[in-house]
């Protein structure tokens, strides 16, 4: 089974049901399937099965047709952010060598021709003799942002994508009655995953450009009777700043919210639960390579809100030491994931290189953490971001939490910098809202709350911190 087969079934069984909404345009499941077949026809006329096509993942129905159409035509898609910078684009093009680029790119095209998405309304009759892709065909190559160095291409098969969608729908409890507002970027695993989840379920998805216009966001909530949406913690900060607690007016309407991609403060978790007491507020832990590996539903795990939750149905997580041996409950180590959601390969990596990403069949996430006695997993840090001060490892998050709570500080990031004596010491990068905060204040505050080795040896004030498009802090860029 592949997701396309579910779409085909929906076109047969619920043809008049609205699958996609974009502004005033509505696309039924019957029309969605017709356009997917037409797009498959188009791509089949251009390239052979197995070719790679790059698609600018703008949130439009045309992208959705092209995306699934390319899959039906036997292609692998490489979705990219429409605002991708030319350097990153060039690197992806050099690495993945797609047969062409479709959609619109806002920041240049590295000298390559960019074709518009195919116009399908007047396309030829549905003569395409389509063959469903196999579950082992590579559906997408998603290039991760990467904290340093070159973007890495994560290869996801049809089987991987179906497994993730099934797991997510199972945990969140999505049904065909759901109408979801999709304001997340869909060039990334989170947003693209939401699209697949909803369509697999035969639900309706309303494509909204972004969260930027609160007026538009609430208008869609009202007009389309939205039952859920996905957001990153930064989206919530924005919604809250721009509209106060108005989201609470939708408490009876919102069945679920999926949150992911970055940590969320405890205060925000509690505020959301207060505003939406009946909504399933589900936060995931995952990475492009192993989408949504763990979930926590805030209301059901009130005593464990400091954790990333428990493995998603269909996924196993274990903690391994650096030598590859499994560690006991409560001991720290690397989080490793097993399940059909785990990617199949890295683009360009030899099989033996990819095999090094596993311990005993469990994919090494590069995240450091532990499992508590009640089965909840806790994240300490990215393994690469742990700071090793004289042999004692500390998480930058712990220090940042103390600094962020200071008056006059909006946010901070800590990294380890080389030190002749200690090996590494903590350096803090701090964004101030008040110039009166000094380095000495920061150091004194951390000293009053944490152990000596966690106190920053130096503090640098900066205007902003490097982040990915989804708001994830990129600490390694500060090293």
């Amino acid at each position: 089974m592949v997701i396309l087969e579910a779409l085909h079934n929906h076109a047969q069984h619920i043809p008049a049901k609205v699958a996609l909404i974009e502004g005033s345009r509505e696309v039924t499941y019957a029309a969605l399937w017709d356009n997917i077949v037409r797009a498959a026809n188009y791509f089949s006329g251009i390239a052979e099965r197995g070719s790679k096509v790059m698609l600018s993942a703008d949130k439009s129905v045309d992208f959705v047709f092209a995306y699934f159409g390319a899959h039906l035509g036997g292609m692998t898609t490489i979705p990219v952010d429409p605002s991708v910078n030319e350097l990153r684009l060039q690197r992806i093009l050099d690495s993945a060598t797609p047969v062409g680029i479709w959609g619109k790119l806002h920041a240049g095209s590295a000298g390559r021709e960019v074709k518009p998405f195919p116009v399908l309304d007047n396309a030829d009759a549905l003569t395409h003799d389509y063959v469903m892709p196999s579950e082992y065909d590579v559906a997408d190559i998603l290039f991760t942002t990467g904290t340093t160095g070159l973007p890495k291409g994560v290869m996801l098969t049809q089987r991987n994508e179906l497994a993730s969608a099934v797991n997510i729908n199972h945990f969140i409890g999505n049904t065909s009655n759901d109408i979801e507002l999709l304001a997340l970027p869909i060039s990334h695993s989170f947003g693209l995953g939401r699209l697949r989840c909803m369509l697999l379920q035969g639900a309706t998805i309303d494509l909204l450009g972004s969260f930027a216009s609160m007026k538009k966001f609430f208008r869609e909530m009202d007009d389309r009777a939205i039952t859920g949406f996905g957001m990153v913690p930064a989206s919530w900060s924005y919604i809250h700043k721009m509209s106060g607690e108005r989201l609470g007016n939708y408490a009876a309407q919102l069945k679920y919210i999926e949150i992911g991609s970055a940590p969320m403060s405890m205060a925000d978790k509690h505020l959301l639960m207060e505003l939406l007491p009946r909504t399933r507020i589900c936060m995931h832990y995952g990475l492009t390579e192993a989408s949504r590996s763990a979930f926590i539903c805030f209301g059901e795990s009130m005593d464990h809100l400091d954790s990333i939750g428990r493995p998603t149905p269909g996924v196993e997580i274990k903690i391994f030491a650096e030598d590859g041996s499994e560690v006991a409950c409560g001991s720290e180590g690397e989080l490793c994931v097993k399940g059909d959601n785990v990617c199949s390969a890295y683009w360009g990596d030899a099989a033996e290189e990819y095999a090094a990403s596993f311990f005993c069949g469990y994919f090494r996430t590069g995240d450091w953490g532990y499992q508590d006695s009640e089965g909840y997993f806790h994240l300490i840090s990215r393994k690469k971001e742990l700071i090793n001060v004289g042999g004692k490892k500390l998480s930058p998050l712990e220090v940042e939490e103390v600094i962020d709570a200071m008056e006059g500080v909006s946010e901070s990031a800590c990294v380890g910098v080389k030190d002749d004596v200690m090996g590494e010491v903590v350096k803090a990068f701090v964004v101030r809202t008040s110039e009166s905060v000094t380095s000495d204040d920061v150091i004194a505050t951390v000293r009053s709350k944490l152990e000596g080795y966690k106190v920053p040896a130096s503090v640098k004030f900066v205007d902003n911190l490097p982040k990915t498009a989804s708001g994830k802090l990129q600490r390694l860029l500060l090293k």
């Binding site: 429409p82 605002s83 806002h106 920041a107 450009g209 972004s210 969260f211 930027a212 216009s213 609160m214 007026k215 538009k216 609430f218 989206s235 924005y238 700043k241 721009m242 509209s243 106060g244 108005r246």
Partner: protein, 77 residues
């Protein structure tokens, strides 16, 4: 400079477009840089520049250039 010209000049600078690109109906999302981060920065600069404070109930209804000019005019009355 009038409120309108000043608002448009701030927007043009923030969104890396020319003032001529901006019409009264231009709304959030019309320029690649007018995303949520761009909107936050714009509203902050407008509050600083005109020495006004915008509350969530003011901000929620701001969608296009016209809305922004009107709220500034109202707050600076």
């Amino acid at each position: 400079m009038e409120v309108k010209e000043k608002v448009i000049a701030i927007m043009a600078k923030n969104f890396e477009v020319t003032p001529e690109d901006i019409i009264m109906e231009s709304s959030i999302g019309d320029f690649p840089k007018w995303d949520s981060l761009g909107n936050l920065a714009l509203l902050q600069e407008i509050q600083d520049e005109f020495d006004i404070e915008l509350e969530p109930e003011d901000i929620i209804d701001l969608e296009d250039v016209n809305d922004i000019i009107n709220i500034v005019k109202e707050k600076t009355k």
